[in-house]
Amino acid sequence: MTEEPTIELLEPADLYEIRLCNPIGEQINKIIKEQITKMICPPNVEISVCKPLRICPPVQCKPIISPPCKPMTSCIPDLLCPPVRYAPIITWPYLPMETPEIPWREIITRLDKLTAEVEELKKKVGR
């Protein structure tokens, strides 16, 4: 006798969420947006735009983990809470690696400076 027929659901259809940080939402033109959507947006994927980095107390720094997704970054100890982003594991295999301490404060300071410079340049070029 052959084995009994069986069926199992492999993957819950939880929504995969891709958060794209500002100003990407405004930046990417229609074609690129369509390409991204085509690439990562089957019925179980949604794209939204994430909020800028914020400083938050440690208690709020719990990454929210949805079953098929992994947060791109997890909490860091110095009260800075990087935004938690999600992506399908297949395209974003983040990252059970031994990552050395990332100098988040330095990076954020640099980003602030760079962003200010871009804004200044925008004014100069009339945008």
Binding site: E3, T6, I7, E11, P42, T91, M97, L111
Partner: protein, 424 residues
């Protein structure tokens, strides 16, 4: 029960069965769900798909399975919406084969580069004394025109470093005239001037750049040119200021793998689109893989069935290669290859043949048609039409064009995902 017996049973139009060696899967294109069924279940569904009624399926499988098992399994799938019962046979589907056309073309406008990246897949470099063969402006325009006639509307000018060509603007304008809707230049950004960036903004040209780290020291160590990070970042600021759609590629390698997370974050926050870091390919200066990112490479292994389900990709993958189908790259010497990483898969040369002759020729169609049914092991895998394939990666590492992707840990003969530790 009696009423069920004389009915046909089959998968709804938005679902498909893919047979594997041990297991098969039912793909639900509507919900994105995937179901795994064993061999018995697969046989039942196949009979329904072949046009047998329930009672006929029961008769055919009677020596192997109990009637009640077959019936209750069909009922279960009907309840779940995975099978339909009908007094009529399954309507013949209108399967739409993917259109055979050139969708995207890379043109490498120069073999030269002012950087000397340690992993460069084209081995581009500074060539002061040596005159490397390069396509002329007229030859490139001919390729652009022929690609447009083939229906291609997406083009990337790359190199080497494309901004080393003094006629790049003119080539971009020519592509515009020929109706290309997506024009992108892939540049290291170090030579972009403000007038050039203004031009790119006016022409609505997209820009792609490689940034290897948020740290100048790491980036410059990879490009082997001190100060290159600063120049690239200055260009990036101007690109953002002018509103040029810009994306950055992060190539993962031993030298930057500890900084990938922070670099991705850095770029996202700056407002550029970036995909997950892509490991170096075994091509050009990366061919010996001495800079392979060991830890990230492990993380990059596929160890579970997380696939992005879409009908369009499924239909395409059944017939064609999942990645390089519809794509072609023209190297600076005029060689045509299906992917920039597939340096040795030359299917013709635009100096001697028209692009149409090459693209529609036997060699290219054979490569475009290199689907998973031809790949060792994959041909027996139930995931073969939902999985993405990088042939340059597979054959670059194994020397075998038909080798299973080294990234995949699935064994379709056992139905098990093997442990990462078994892969190096």
């Amino acid at each position: 029960m009696l009423s069920l017996n004389n009915h046909y049973f089959f998968l709804p139009e938005n679902k498909a069965l893919v047979k594997g060696s041990k297991y098969s899967i039912i793909i639900d294109f509507e919900s994105g769900r995937t179901y795994r069924v064993n061999r018995s279940a697969s046989r039942i569904i196949e009979l329904g798909e072949q046009g047998f009624k329930v009672e006929e399926a029961v008769e055919k499988l009677g020596s192997e399975l109990k009637d009640s098992s077959i019936i209750s399994f069909i009922e279960k799938l009907v309840e779940q919406g995975l099978l339909l019962l009908s007094s009529n046979p399954k309507p013949q589907g209108s399967e739409k084969p993917s259109e055979l056309k050139l969708d995207f073309i890379w043109i490498e406008v120069t073999p030269n580069c002012n950087l000397q990246c340690i992993h460069c897949y084209t081995e581009a470099r500074v060539n002061k004394d040596e005159q490397l063969e390069t396509l002329s402006k007229e030859e490139i325009e001919k390729v652009i025109g022929e690609a447009a006639e083939l229906g291609c509307r997406k083009i990337q000018f790359t190199g080497g470093e494309p901004t080393l060509r003094s006629d790049l603007k003119s080539l971009i304008e020519y592509a515009k005239v020929k109706g290309f809707e997506l024009i992108e230049i892939f540049t290291n950004g170090t030579l972009l001037t403000e007038p050039m960036i203004k031009f790119l903004a006016e022409q609505k040209v997209n820009v792609a750049m490689s940034i290897y780290s948020y740290r100048a020291k790491t980036h410059d160590a990879i490009t082997k040119v001190p100060g290159s990070f600063e120049k690239t970042m200055n260009s990036l600021k101007l690109l953002l200021a002018y509103g040029v759609p810009t994306r950055c590629e992060i190539v993962a390698m031993r030298q930057n793998e500890k900084e990938l997370e922070a670099t991705s974050y850095f770029l996202y926050q700056l407002g550029v689109y970036t995909r997950p870091p892509d490991p170096i390919r075994p091509s050009g200066r990366g061919r010996n893989m001495e800079n392979w990112p060991t830890e990230y490479g492990q993380a990059f292994l596929q160890t579970k069935p997380s696939f992005i389900i879409s009908r369009e990709n499924y239909e395409k993958n059944k017939r064609w290669n999942s990645c390089w189908f519809g794509k072609a790259a023209v190297t600076s010497s005029g060689n045509v290859i299906p992917c920039v990483f597939a340096r040795d898969q030359v299917v013709g040369n635009v100096k001697h043949q028209s692009l149409a002759e090459i693209i529609l020729g036997e060699k290219m169609l054979r490569l475009w048609g290199l689907n998973r049914d031809q790949i060792e092991v994959c041909r027996d895998c139930e995931y073969r039409y939902v999985c993405e394939d990088c042939r340059p990666w597979a054959y670059g590492l194994t020397g075998n064009l038909y080798a299973k992707s080294p990234r995949c840990t699935y064994n379709p003969y056992t139905g098990e995902w093997e442990k990462k530790e078994n892969f190096s």
